[in-house]
């Protein structure tokens, strides 16, 4: 197949750019360890209690160490269960000090949901049968909206909460 001289340059540059691009992605993934959420832990969607993280008393934000938190969430149609406060009322707002590392663990007893703290790197799918988990560091103070960004039914847009990253 005959290729025009300029076309060879064009494709050559394109392919070199492509290789460089993929190397950068690979470097970010396998050397720096930045992967998208890919947790594979199984759970019975009809018996979430089988996993300690999703016991009623363990839901929501827990401080496990200095600057380290765990956030356990049950996403169901059409609500995020972030645990309850002292008076027993459901929590929809959490606060985390800036610079903390937080491990988010989530699952669903019913249908597929999304879990996104808009404006942060916490963005993942939540599917029945699996525990989704992702650890991120929250450096930038501000209020972030928790939204379900995967269609889950007619009340999909009513699933939300907030997180304040405080100085």
């Amino acid at each position: 197949m005959h290729l025009h001289k300029y076309e060879k340059y064009w494709l050559g540059l394109g392919i070199i750019g492509l290789i460089a691009f993929l190397l950068i992605l690979g470097f970010g993934a396998f050397y720096l360890g930045t992967h998208p959420q890919s947790h594979g832990e199984l759970i019975d969607p009809e018996n979430l209690e089988m996993n300690e993280a999703f016991h009623e008393e363990n839901l929501g934000l827990t401080k496990v160490d200095e600057g380290r938190y765990v956030l356990n969430v049950v996403a169901s149609a059409f609500n995020y269960n972030l645990g309850t406060d002292e008076s027993g009322a459901p929590i929809s707002h959490i606060e985390i000090p800036a610079g903390s590392k937080v491990l988010v663990q989530a699952t669903s007893p019913d249908v597929v949901h999304g879990l996104n703290f808009a404006g942060t790197n916490i963005n993942m799918m939540v599917e029945p049968g699996y525990v989704s988990a992702l650890e991120v560091q929250l450096d930038n103070p501000g209020e972030y909206t928790l939204v379900c960004n995967e269609y889950c039914g007619v009340g999909h847009h009513m699933m939300f909460g907030t997180m304040e990253v405080v100085e």
Partner: protein, 568 residues
């Protein structure tokens, strides 16, 4: 001493150039027009749904009569993403096949059967959606459970398209048999590649339907493997977008050159790029599932690499287009570095609409690179950035090219002329579309970057500052979407005018030829067995381990949920 070449030895190139053009019979024209009717009715209904969506999302409008937002969202996605595209494409491709390799009477009858099966399936699915029994959007979303009729309808659409695919394969095969030493007509070659890709890709969605969704929705099976259904869907869902794109490329490679008064840049290159699209369109679906649990990150990364291979044929296509423009311009005597741009027929809508489509593919393709970029995907996954992205690629690049085709194809089929006034309306339509889409798509991209979710009815999310900011962009989308709807109404008007009111005559079916001194096309381009084998090997490589993993390490299956979509 001279040796005579052995006459029995086969040359490794094809000797023939160009394409003999056939005349479309009355029945063939009627077949293609039937597809066009469905396509343009779908355009209107789907466009109306789009308008309602942007109005609802502006926060200032509520749907009347208790209509659910997610019903209109499902209609919009299914009717534009599956019906408009599939019907336009198969109709257009049937016209190309009739024009280049022809139909026997029997083939044409089978093509009609394919159309009938597709249409029946489409009507069944449409009714199920419209009565609110299938608010599952077009990605199905197990374990949300729609009425079985929805799944059966969709399956029939796919089966009908398969009948058409086999008719196209048969036409091509018979032509090759009759012309053993000739290369196939370029456009017929491209149609066969696209239908091969479609056939292999739809096996995924058909398996999901027949093995999972239909028995489950009929109650024969109690549970469904959610992740398997999603993986099978996206095995189909990504090649689907190339199934939309390749017919646009057919027009770019082999029809636009004729419209601008030029020749095909390179027959071999065009074929080779289509072969590469066949290879790299399918084994890549995991890049839609990058943030999903239960899929191994290494295999996600491997499919990301395979996804990026389409950059190569895309660059080849871009080069070919602009090379054709420049060569044609220089031949006409326009000099200078960019002087050749002037010769392009800017006031010919058959060129202008597809050309804007080409331009839209530059940011569209760049956005696609962002989406597929493994860890960067987390930033935009399921935000309305993605919606902005495919409104550039599908709803601008593909759709404007399809409109560009319709301006000559419809009058050609109905025995009328593309008049100056229709051409002028077409140019206004193209400009309206471009302006509306720029406003809507840019505001979607920005809103997505600041976290705004897609697939969502209006919500103030408890009144957060972020949600207030999103609201402003949703207002901009309502403005852009309204302009787009006006453009759709104008397009439907043009469509009706071209069918019933334009003056009678013979509109050209533009098919470009090669240069007289063009390089012959090598025979390896038609090594079909090899192309299919490579395609299958790549699919098996990319999908065997992930799918085995999803099946063997499956969680307890999911019971059906019909109440969240109001289907109980």
């Amino acid at each position: 001493m001279e040796t005579a070449t052995a006459p029995a030895k086969q040359s490794n190139v094809f000797r023939n150039k160009g394409t003999m053009e056939l005349r479309l019979s009355k029945n063939e024209r009627r077949l293609v027009m039937s597809y066009m009717y469905v396509a343009f009715i779908s355009l209107f209904i789907g466009g109306l749904m789009g308008l309602l969506q942007v109005l609802v999302r502006s926060g200032n409008f509520e749907l009347p009569w208790g209509i659910n937002y997610y019903t209109i969202l499902t209609v919009h996605g299914v009717i534009l993403g599956l019906v408009l595209t599939t019907f336009f494409i198969i109709g257009f491709q049937n016209a190309l096949m009739g024009k280049t390799v022809g139909y026997s009477k029997k083939q044409l009858n089978w093509a009609w059967i394919g159309f009938a099966v597709m249409t029946i399936g489409m009507i069944i699915a449409a009714i199920t959606i419209l009565v609110g029994k299938a608010n599952v959007l077009y990605t199905f979303y197990a374990p949300l459970q729609a009425h079985p009729a929805f799944y059966i309808g969709i399956t029939l659409v796919v089966v009908g398209s398969w009948i058409n695919a086999f008719v196209n394969f048969r036409q091509f095969y018979m032509w090759k048999k009759k012309h053993p030493d000739e290369k196939s007509p370029l456009l017929a070659f491209m149609v066969v590649i696209n239908m091969l890709m479609w056939l292999i890709a739809t096996l995924g969605v058909a398996t999901a339907m027949l093995v999972q969704f239909i028995p489950w929705s009929l109650g024969y099976k109690n549970t469904i493997n959610v992740l398997l259904s999603r993986t099978l869907f996206w095995y189909f869902g990504h090649p689907l977008v190339y199934f939309w794109l390749l017919p646009a490329y057919m027009a770019w490679y082999a029809i636009i050159p004729k419209i601008i008064g030029g020749k095909i840049f390179s027959d071999t290159l065009a074929r080779f790029s289509f072969i590469l699209f066949l290879f790299f369109s399918i084994p890549v679906g995991l890049h839609h599932q990058l943030t999903e649990p239960g899929l191994d990150s290494t295999w996600k990364f491997i499919q990301v690499i395979l996804t990026f291979m389409v950059v190569i044929p895309s660059l080849m296509t871009a080069f070919s287009m602009f090379a054709t423009f420049e060569i044609t311009g220089r031949k006409k005597g326009y000099g200078g570095l960019f002087g050749w741009l002037k010769h392009l027929p800017w006031s010919d809508v058959r060129f202008l609409a597809p050309f804007i489509g080409m331009l839209a593919f530059i940011p569209g393709g760049a956005g696609g690179i962002v989406n597929a970029s493994y860890q960067i995907n987390t930033l935009v996954h399921n935000t309305i950035w993605v919606t902005g992205h495919f409104h550039l690629t599908a709803a601008t690049t593909v759709v404007l090219t399809f409109f560009g085709i319709a301006y000559w194809l419809i009058p050609h089929l109905t025995g009328r002329k593309l008049t100056k006034s229709v051409n002028r309306l077409g140019i206004i339509q193209t400009i309206l579309w471009t302006v509306g889409m720029l406003i809507m798509s840019i505001s979607m991209h920005i809103q997505g970057l600041i976290g705004g979710p897609r697939r969502s009815a209006y919500s103030d999310y408890g009144g957060t500052a972020q949600a207030t900011e999103w609201g402003a962009y949703q207002m901009a989308q309502a403005v852009g979407g309204t302009i787009l709807f006006i453009a759709i109404v104008l397009m439907v008007y043009i469509f009706v005018k071209m069918i019933f009111f334009s003056p009678k005559g013979e509109e050209e079916f533009p098919i470009a030829q090669e240069e007289d001194n063009a390089e012959p096309t090598p025979r390896w381009t038609e090594n079909w067995k090899l192309w299919i084998a490579i395609t299958l090997v790549l699919i098996l490589f990319a999908y065997t381990v992930p799918i085995m993993d999803v099946i063997q390490n499956a969680p307890p299956g999911s019971a059906p949920f019909d109440w969240p979509i109001g289907n109980s």
